[in-house]
C-alpha cells in the first residue's frame, strides 16, 4: 500500500452530537426536491410542469450551458410545485413521492465492456452525470472534456461528518462497478484518498484505482487538499471529483439498469436529541426527519451539510444535492456581556487566548454567533495554519477582492474551492467572509475564462 501523506496543518472542531452508529428506523419521505442552487453556475431549463407524473431517473431540467447534462427525479411521484425566487430564478422543484420508487429502465451492462462514449451517454441520460464535479471551480463536469485524473475522497473529516466505513459498509462491489465506469472516462487514474485506519475497510480492496493515505486533522478529507498533495492542478488542467455516494449510484445503475437515489444521512449536532444515521433520498424533505428530533424548535439553526460549508435551511426545506449530513446547532442570537474579556474556561477555540485550552473537554456546543464585529485583515499567519496546501491564502483572497485575475491565477485559485478555506473563516479574528470571497473569485474566473 502507498505511503501515508501526513498533513500537519488543519484543525478538528470538537462538536457535540456525533451520530451513533446504528441505522434509525427510516422515516417516510413524502416529498423530495431538486435544487438547482446546489450547483454553482447552473442555469436550469425546466422539462416538467406541476402535476406531471415522473419516475426516478426521469429528466426534470437540464443545464442551459451544458445541454446534455440532465438532472433527474430522485424518486417516482408527481411534480408538486416549482418554487421560484427573485427574477423567477428556479429555487426548487418539488416532487411528491408515491413511495414506490420506480425507476426508468436503462441498459444493464458491465462498464468494462462499454466504451467511454457509451458510459457517458448512460450517465448523462440517467442524471448521474450531475454527481461529477470538476476542478477548477467545483462546477459541473463538462462531458466534452477528458480529465487528467479523477479523485474520490473516501473519508469526510468535517465536524460530525458521517463515517463512510459505516455508511458504505458491504457495498464494495457497487463501488467497484462505479470506479470501473469512471476509469474509462479519464486518461489518467482514479485516485482514492483514505485514512490509514481504513486500510482494511470498504475502500481499501478496490481495484483499478490508486489508493493514497492521508493522516491529519480536517481538512485532510477534502478532495481539494488530496488533489493538491497528489497532483496539483495547473493552469489549463481539469480533474474531476466524485463522492463515494456518487460511485454507488453509478454502480447501481450499471448493475441493475435502474437508478436508486436512496442514501444514508447522518443527523448530527448538539440540538439533536439522539444523533443517528437515517436512510432517505437525496433531496429529501427535512420536515419529517426533524419532527420531534430536536431539543427546542425555533432557536436553532438547521444546516444541510456540516457546520463549516453547509447551507442554512428552514425546517420545512430539503436536503442539499451533495449533502449526506444534517447538523442542528443553537442559533446563538443573543448578547454576551463583556464576552471579549471572558477568561473562557469553558470556551473551545483553536487559538490560545482562552483558558479552556488548559481544560479540554471531549466535545462542545458551538452556536452560529459571529462572536465579534467584522474587521479588515489585521492578524497575519492565522490562515496558513488551517490550509495544508502550498498556498498563501490571504494574498489569494486579496487578489480576489481586487478582481485581479492574473494574480488569482498565479496564487493558485484553480486549486481551491470554498470548502478548502472554510476553517480559515471559522478561525478568523476579523470575521472575514472567506468562503463568500472565494466563490466570488471562482465565479469571476468562470465568467471570464469559461
Amino acid at each position: 500500500m502507498s505511503k501515508v501523506i501526513n498533513l500537519k496543518r488543519g484543525f478538528n472542531i470538537r462538536l457535540k452530537g456525533e451520530a451513533e452508529k446504528n441505522l434509525g428506523t427510516s422515516t417516510d419521505t413524502d416529498k423530495v426536491a431538486l435544487k438547482p442552487t446546489d450547483f454553482p453556475g447552473l442555469v436550469p431549463k425546466l422539462l416538467v410542469k406541476a402535476g406531471q407524473v415522473v419516475k426516478a431517473g426521469e429528466p426534470i431540467f437540464f443545464d442551459k450551458y451544458n445541454s446534455e447534462v440532465f438532472f433527474t427525479a430522485p424518486t417516482s411521484g408527481e411534480v408538486l410545485e416549482i418554487n421560484r425566487g427573485e427574477r423567477r430564478k428556479v429555487l426548487e422543484v418539488i416532487i411528491k413521492a408515491d413511495g414506490k420508487n420506480e425507476s426508468v429502465s436503462f441498459p444493464k451492462s458491465d462498464p468494462k465492456n462499454l466504451s467511454a462514449e457509451e458510459i457517458k451517454e448512460q450517465l448523462l441520460k440517467s442524471g448521474l452525470w450531475s454527481f461529477i464535479k470538476q476542478r477548477p471551480y467545483g462546477s459541473l463536469a463538462k462531458p466534452s472534456q477528458t480529465p487528467k485524473h479523477i479523485f474520490v475522497s473516501c473519508f469526510d473529516s468535517a465536524p460530525l461528518a458521517p463515517d463512510y466505513e459505516f455508511v458504505f459498509n458491504g457495498q464494495t462491489a457497487l463501488l467497484q462497478t462505479g470506479v470501473n465506469a469512471l476509469a474509462k472516462l479519464t486518461g489518467g487514474k482514479v485516485h482514492l484518498g483514505i485514512r490509514p485506519e481504513q486500510t482494511n475497510g470498504v475502500f481499501s480492496g478496490l481495484k483499478n484505482v490508486e489508493i493514497n493515505q492521508f493522516s491529519g486533522a480536517h481538512p485532510a478529507g477534502n478532495v481539494g487538499i488530496q488533489i493538491h498533495q497528489i497532483s496539483p492542478i495547473n493552469k489549463g488542467e481539469v480533474v474531476w471529483t466524485i463522492t463515494p455516494q456518487g460511485l454507488i449510484y453509478i454502480g447501481k445503475l450499471f448493475e441493475t439498469g435502474k437508478v436508486d437515489f436512496t442514501k444514508i444521512v447522518a443527523l448530527t449536532g448538539s440540538e439533536v436529541k439522539s444523533p443517528k444515521y437515517i436512510k432517505t433520498y437525496h433531496g429529501a424533505n427535512l420536515e419529517n426527519i426533524l419532527k420531534g428530533a430536536t431539543q427546542k424548535a425555533g432557536s436553532e439553526r438547521i444546516i444541510s451539510g456540516n457546520v463549516l460549508t453547509g447551507t442554512k435551511v428552514p425546517a420545512d426545506n430539503y436536503l442539499g444535492f451533495f449533502d449526506s449530513q444534517i447538523t442542528v446547532i443553537p442559533e446563538g442570537d443573543e448578547y454576551e456581556f463583556m464576552g471579549w474579556a471572558d477568561p473562557g474556561f469553558n470556551k473551545f477555540s483553536p487559538g490560545s487566548t482562552f483558558f479552556g485550552k488548559l481544560f479540554p473537554k471531549k466535545a462542545y456546543t458551538l452556536n452560529a454567533n459571529l462572536h465579534g464585529g467584522e474587521r479588515a485583515f489585521v492578524l497575519s499567519g492565522q490562515y496558513e495554519k488551517y490550509v495544508p496546501m502550498d498556498i498563501l491564502p490571504v494574498y489569494l483572497l486579496k487578489a480576489i477582492l481586487a478582481n485581479d485575475i492574473d494574480k488569482m491565477e498565479q496564487l493558485g485559485i484553480y486549486e481551491i474551492i470554498e470548502e478548502d478555506l472554510a476553517l480559515c473563516e471559522y478561525a478568523c479574528t476579523s470575521k472575514v467572509k472567506v468562503q463568500e470571497i472565494v466563490r466570488q473569485g471562482l465565479d469571476l474566473m468562470m465568467k471570464e475564462l469559461g
Binding site: N369, G373, R375
Partner: protein, 385 residues
C-alpha cells in the same frame, strides 16, 4: 447586566441614520460592542465562528503591556526620589504613587485624543470603531520620556492617528506603526524634549542632589563611557522612557504574547538574533571603542531594544505578513537597531528608526516571498506540461 443591555437597545433608534442623535452613532456602537458581544449570527459561509475577535486580541496586547506600565510607574517614582536624595526615607507605595500620578495623565491624554479622533473618523465613514488604538494608546505613553509636556503627547498622538492610520484607511491599513511615528514626530520636531540628560527623570520642581546626572545608560555608552548596572537595567531602575526600562517586565509581556499566539515569536526571536549578530560583529572590530566593545546582551537591557522587539516589531499590520518574511524582517530590525545605535551617535536610540525603516520595507520583503510562491507554481506547471 440586563439594564445596561436595555439602555443600549432602547437608545439605539435615536442614533440611527436620520434620527436626532445620529452624530453619536459610532460612540453608541463603540460602547455597546464594548459591553456586549453582539447577537449577529453567521449569514454566509461557515456557520460557526471562533470566540476570538479583535477586541480580545487587542485586549491581550494591552494586558501584556501592564507589567511594563506598572514597572514604569514605580521607576518614575524611584528615579525621582533617587534624584532628590530622598529614596532612603520613602516607602514602596509612596514611590509607586508618585510615578502613578505622573504617568496616568499621559495615558489619559493619549486615549482621549486618539479615541476621540477615531470616533470622529468612524462616524464620518460610517464604520464601526476599530480597536487598533487600544494598543497604540497604551504604547504611546510608554515610549515617552517622563518630562514630555502633555500637549506634545496630544499633538503627536493626533498626528499619528490622522496621518499614519486614518489617511490609509484605519486599523489594518497603516504602513507604519502609529505609536512609533508619534515618538518619531516628537523626536524630530522637538529634539530637545526627547533626548539629552534632563528629560528622563521627573524632578517635580525639587532640587536634585549634587552629582546627579539624569543621563540614561545608553547616553553614557554613546558618550564613550559605558557604565551599565546590569541588575538595575534588567529590573528597570534606570532612567529611560516610561515603559521601556524594565527588561523583566517586558519579558513577562513577551511570554503573554507568545503563549497566547498573539505576538509572533518568530519576529521576537529573530529581532534578538539580529541584534546579537550585529553586537558580535561590532565587538569583533571594536578596537578601543568602548561602545562597540559592549557585549551584545547588554544592548538588550538598555534603551528600547527589548520593548521594540516585543511590542513594536510584532505589530501584525505594519510588519511582514508572510511567515518566512517574519524571520527576515525581525533579523534586519535587530541588525539595524544596534548598528544605528553604535555607529550613528546622532540618534542615540536606533530601535525606533530601525523598526520604522523595516516597516517601510516589509511590503517589499513580502513581495519577494509571494513572488517566490508564484514562481514555484509556474515551475510546477512547466514540469508537468
Amino acid at each position: 447586566m440586563k439594564f445596561i443591555q436595555k439602555f443600549f437597545e432602547d437608545t439605539k433608534p435615536y442614533v440611527q441614520k436620520g434620527a436626532k442623535y445620529h452624530w453619536l452613532h459610532s460612540v453608541h456602537d463603540g460602547m455597546f460592542t464594548l459591553f456586549f458581544v453582539q447577537k449577529n449570527t453567521s449569514k454566509s459561509g461557515s456557520h460557526i465562528h471562533d470566540y476570538i475577535d479583535l477586541k480580545r486580541t487587542m485586549g491581550i496586547v494591552v494586558l501584556a503591556l501592564i507589567p511594563a506600565l506598572l514597572m514604569g510607574m514605580y521607576n518614575t517614582g524611584y528615579q525621582h526620589f533617587a534624584a532628590i536624595g530622598e529614596l532612603a526615607n520613602t516607602n514602596f507605595w509612596e514611590v509607586f504613587f508618585y510615578g502613578f500620578l505622573r504617568v496616568v495623565p499621559f495615558i489619559l491624554v493619549s486615549y482621549i485624543v486618539g479615541l476621540g479622533i477615531e470616533f470622529v473618523f468612524a462616524q464620518m465613514r460610517g464604520h464601526e470603531i476599530q480597536e487598533g488604538f487600544l494598543v497604540s494608546g497604551m504604547l504611546i505613553p510608554l515610549i515617552m520620556p517622563i518630562n514630555t509636556p502633555l500637549w506634545m503627547v496630544a499633538i503627536s498622538t493626533a498626528f499619528a492617528v490622522v496621518f499614519v492610520k486614518e489617511v490609509f484607511g484605519g486599523t489594518g491599513m497603516n504602513i507604519w506603526n502609529p505609536a512609533l511615528v508619534a515618538r518619531a514626530f516628537l523626536f524630530f520636531a522637538y529634539p530637545s524634549q526627547m533626548s539629552g540628560d534632563s528629560v528622563w527623570v521627573s524632578l517635580g520642581g525639587q532640587k536634585a542632589i549634587d552629582g546627579f546626572s539624569g543621563a540614561t545608560p545608553m547616553a553614557q555608552a554613546a558618550a564613550g563611557h559605558p557604565n551599565i548596572d546590569i541588575w538595575n537595567s534588567f529590573i528597570g531602575l534606570i532612567p529611560g522612557s516610561i515603559g521601556e526600562t524594565s527588561t523583566l517586565a517586558i519579558l513577562i509581556g513577551a511570554v503573554i504574547l507568545i503563549m497566547t499566539g498573539i505576538g509572533s515569536w518568530k519576529i521576537i526571536f529573530s529581532t534578538f538574533a539580529g541584534g546579537a549578530v550585529m553586537g558580535l560583529i561590532l565587538t569583533a572590530f571594536a578596537g578601543n571603542n568602548a561602545y562597540m566593545a559592549l557585549p551584545f546582551w547588554e544592548h538588550f537591557i538598555i534603551g528600547g531594544f527589548a520593548f521594540g522587539a516585543v511590542f513594536m516589531a510584532t505589530d501584525p499590520v505594519s510588519g511582514t505578513q508572510t511567515e518566512r518574511g517574519k524571520w527576515i524582517y525581525g533579523f534586519l530590525i535587530g541588525i539595524l537597531a544596534i548598528l544605528i545605535r553604535v555607529v550613528n551617535p546622532a540618534y542615540p536610540e536606533g530601535m525606533m528608526l530601525a523598526i520604522l525603516l523595516m516597516n517601510t520595507f516589509a511590503p517589499l520583503i513580502d513581495h519577494y516571498i509571494v513572488e517566490g510562491s508564484i514562481k514555484k507554481r509556474l515551475k510546477r506547471a512547466k514540469v508537468n506540461a
